[in-house]
Amino acid sequence: MPEMITIENINKKFGDTEVLKDLNGKVEKGQVICVIGPSGGGKSTFLRCLNMLEQPTSGKIVFEDSELTSLNESQINQLREKMGMVFQSFNLFSNMTVVENVKLAPVKVKKMTDAAAQELALKLLDQVGLAEKADNYPASLSGGQQQRVAIARALAMNPDVMLFDEPTSALDPEMVGEVLKVMQDLANQGMTMVVVTHEMGFAKNVADEVWFMDGGVFAEKGTPDQIFEHPQNERTQDFLAKILEA
């Protein structure tokens, strides 16, 4: 399988605190990687390094033949088009309607005509089950609905890979399912995904690989079966024990 993202010796420091330590990894086309681990372990920072929202202090990230850390501002903008990102806090643009949220990047970045963008947006909103909310403002939507719009918004750029940072952590429990369902559909369609999540069920069912992160390192990597049924690392065992207790 062709490699989509290669991570080599990534380090990240905030001031003097080392948050990521010598990370390595490969994401292949069509793979779903779930990143799990305790809070504060560096999962978000790692994910944000993948699309350069954070600049790694050292190391290399290669995405489809491009070495991200060596690119200039406008080249990074171009690569970000191909990497959709979904945030824990949705981050829908509050000054725009749902459909405007989805259309913005295709129109501004891809220079798509308004009509074409409208058609695309409505198709994607339909795909996440929210076509009838197209003209509402985000504030009038539930959390689950907002997150589905956020996914549609990221998909509108037709990305090669989707990055999710705890997409369901801010949701009321009854809304988690609808978002996970959309993500599962995406995975089934063959989308390459890197998902930071605490939803162990999702990781077990959907992930091709699970990366356990703690203290800024990938303490353990493996198939869902290896990680959840036969964890080798003590920290993985601790973490899973605590999660399952809760």
């Binding site: 903008n77 643009f93 509050s94």
Partner: protein, 479 residues
């Protein structure tokens, strides 16, 4: 007065290089074909405003004198109105070629200004409330009493020096002094006899007495002021002044002024002066609207500069904002008009608009900066992760949300700009405040024009607030 002193001090810094230039004063006037007269038209019968067919004009003895001089020089007369306080600065900064404003050639003034020969000798009188007529005889009756005179005038100094224990109150406008007199803030107002006569003739509540001041050189006289070193122009003008004196033309001129004053006071209803107020509102709105537009454009620029990560740009942004917010608008107005006016000649209205815009920009910049900071960081990250550039993110996502957050604060700024722009009246911009004073002078009525102006200001600010509230509600998308 303080403002005046500051602007003169400022001139000291700027004016040095031009001082040494050779005298081309006459040649310059002839070359441009206009003679610009500076005057403070609130001093009937010397100079005052009349309303002619909806248009206001400066008339009076001094205007007739200026007309004769211009005619003798073969050039066109242009009249520039401004506060008495600002006249000498205007001379030094070449805003005007000469000042004819009932001005006395005192020794102190002669240090910074050249004067023509004397064209009129009036005495100094004191105006009092008619009801007090028995109480006061001459200046000696005013010991330890509050007295009024125009700020920067020789009457002010006379009162200070020659009335024992006097408590002098200075105001820029005679009309305000008369108001102060009527409300017993002062017991008497010192002014030149012809002017005092005009007020007494037109206001049955006033009376005048001879001040019996001992008058030194020049203090009884009235002459024309010129920029220091304008010998050639002064000599030429003196030919006209000598003719005026020989032919006793001032008598004719005073009579002429008298007829204007009668037409002025024939109808003193505020309705009759609608055009004054309308013009004032037009200018006030013009200054405010342009001030707001440039205030926002520049405000965004300065806010972005202050938010910039580049140290020098950040520093320049901070420096501008802090400096402008740390100095009064009044001084900024004078600085733009007189200070910058030394290098480029800008009309008072433009100077006023520039000053108000630059001032507003600093306040708007801080409001906008607050607004930008108030937009959640996630909004930027979401936009950037979609591939939008920093600029696209700002224009499409951050700024609209910032604007929504700061709309009430911006609205307040605009409303206060309507009020604060009134300061431009000091350089002669005919905004509402300026027109208010003009109506006061023309009608010899003090309070009613104030009430009218107050109501107009309120109507403007109140309707603006309503309009802004409407848009604020429209912008709210949450819940």
């Amino acid at each position: 007065m303080l403002a005046f002193t500051v602007s003169v001090a400022m001139l000291g810094v700027f004016a040095q290089p031009t001082q040494a230039a050779t005298d081309d004063s006459l040649a310059r006037v002839q070359e441009k074909g206009t003679l610009v007269m500076g005057t403070s038209p609130d001093y009937p019968p010397y100079e005052f405003l009349v309303n002619r067919g909806g248009k206001e004009r400066v008339v009076g003895m001094d205007v007739d004198i200026a007309k004769k001089i211009a005619k003798d020089l073969g050039v066109k007369l242009v009249i520039k109105q401004m506060d008495f306080d600002s006249l000498l600065v205007a001379l030094e900064t070449n805003k005007v070629d000469m000042v004819i404003s009932g001005m006395s050639p005192t020794a102190a003034r002669k240090k910074s200004v050249d004067f023509s020969n004397v064209y009129y000798k009036g005495g100094q009188s004191i105006i009092i409330n008619k009801a007090d007529k028995g109480l006061y005889k001459d200046r000696t009756s005013f010991q330890n009493k509050a007295m009024g005179a125009q700020t920067g005038s020789i009457q002010f100094n006379l009162g200070k020096k020659q009335i024992k224990g006097s408590n002098m109150k200075g105001l820029a406008k005679i009309s305000d002094l008369i108001l102060a007199l009527k409300s017993h803030k002062v017991e008497g107002v010192i002014m030149e006899t012809p002017s005092a006569q005009a007020y007494v003739d037109n206001d049955p509540d006033l009376a005048m007495i001879n001040g019996k001041f001992s008058l030194g050189s020049g203090e009884n006289d009235t002459a024309i002021g010129f920029k220091k070193g304008s010998t050639s122009l002064v000599n030429e003008v003196n030919k006209s002044v000598d003719q005026i004196n020989k032919q006793k033309l001032t008598k004719t001129y005073l009579k002429h002024a008298g007829t204007y004053m009668k037409t002025n006071t024939k109808n003193t209803s505020m309705w009759h002066y609608t055009s004054y107020f309308v013009k004032g509102v037009e200018y006030t709105l013009l200054i405010t609207v342009i001030g707001v537009i440039f205030g926002i454009l520049l405000g965004v620029l300065f806010a972005l500069m202050r938010l910039s990560k580049i140290k020098l740009i950040h520093f320049l942004g901070v420096a501008y904002i802090e400096f402008v917010r740390g100095t009064p608008l009044m001084i900024q107005v004078m600085f733009v008009y007189f200070g910058i006016g030394l290098f480029i000649n800008i009309p008072a209205l433009i100077a006023g608009i520039i000053a108000v815009s630059l001032n507003s920009a600093a306040y708007v910049a801080e409001i906008i900066r607050g607004g930008i900071n108030s937009v959640a960081k996630g909004q930027t990250e979401a936009a950037r992760s979609l591939g939008l550039s920093q600029q696209q993110t700002f224009v499409s996502v951050i700024f609209p949300q910032a604007l929504k957050n700061i709309w009430p604060a911006l609205g307040n700024e605009f409303v206060s700009l309507i009020k604060e722009s009134s300061i431009v009246s000091i350089i002669g911009v005919t905004d509402l405040i300026y027109q208010l004073k003009a109506v006061q002078t023309a009608t010899y009525k003090g309070v009613i024009p104030i009430v009218v102006a107050m109501v107009i200001y309120f109507v403007m600010t109140f309707s603006l607030s309503k309009v802004l509230n409407h848009y604020e509600r429209k912008m709210k998308h949450d819940a």
